[in-house]
Symmetry: C2
Subunit: 147 residues, 2 copies
Amino acid sequence: MDEEKQVAYVADIEKELRYVSSWIKQRGREILYDYHITIPQFLALQYLFEAGDMTIGELSTKMFLAFSTTTDLIDRMEKRQLVQRVKDEKDRRVVRIHLLGEGERIIEEVINKRQQYLSGVLAHFNDADIVSLQGILAKLHQEMKEK
Amino acid sequence: MDEEKQVAYVADIEKELRYVSSWIKQRGREILYDYHITIPQFLALQYLFEAGDMTIGELSTKMFLAFSTTTDLIDRMEKRQLVQRVKDEKDRRVVRIHLLGEGERIIEEVINKRQQYLSGVLAHFNDADIVSLQGILAKLHQEMKEK
């Protein structure tokens, strides 16, 4: 396809990806009301779930938050036993935030809710579309990792 | 395909969508450093960009934030001339938050950055894949709107 057409396709894919992922996200987050979890708390749980234990500094950078804001956030989450501060075994001065069972359970429940919603939406798709979508997304993911 | 296989596909599509959209999002947000915009400020800009003018109450609900937190957020954004409080013409007691030119410009620049990144990733895809991805995402979006 020519360059102009390609640019239009990319713009459209970016927009559709933004909408689709934002709708799925909203559906997953509906359960957060039941747990009285705030969005920053949820995002911290999600980063820890995906990337494993992190220092407050690393988490601040990921979340675009000030160090002090992240410290307050983690204090509140530690009180609710969602996370725990753990000292590095080799260097006791380094402290990392570790996701606890309850925090992990909430993330898994959110993912479960997202899957249920997506399953309902994909019910109207034929098998070929589902296989094709999975294949192209996996390829996109692979390309992104290699960049 | 049988139900077990379908469940596995849905789980995989949910996961890949989560990764892919989070990578694109991170790339878009890199420019926020240059503008000293925080993530809550950016999210507020994005909601106003997508849904148009909103009351503080509506924005609080969307952002899962307390009313007072959203008020503080909007105060800071109004000082930076990213948004503006506007009284409803018919009912002067109703105040809505309106996105100003500078706020809009930042969102557009983030979207532009996302497109550039996606374009680089899609450079290794053939035309058929790009067309297919666009088509399936548009269909997903349509199904979500109808639900």
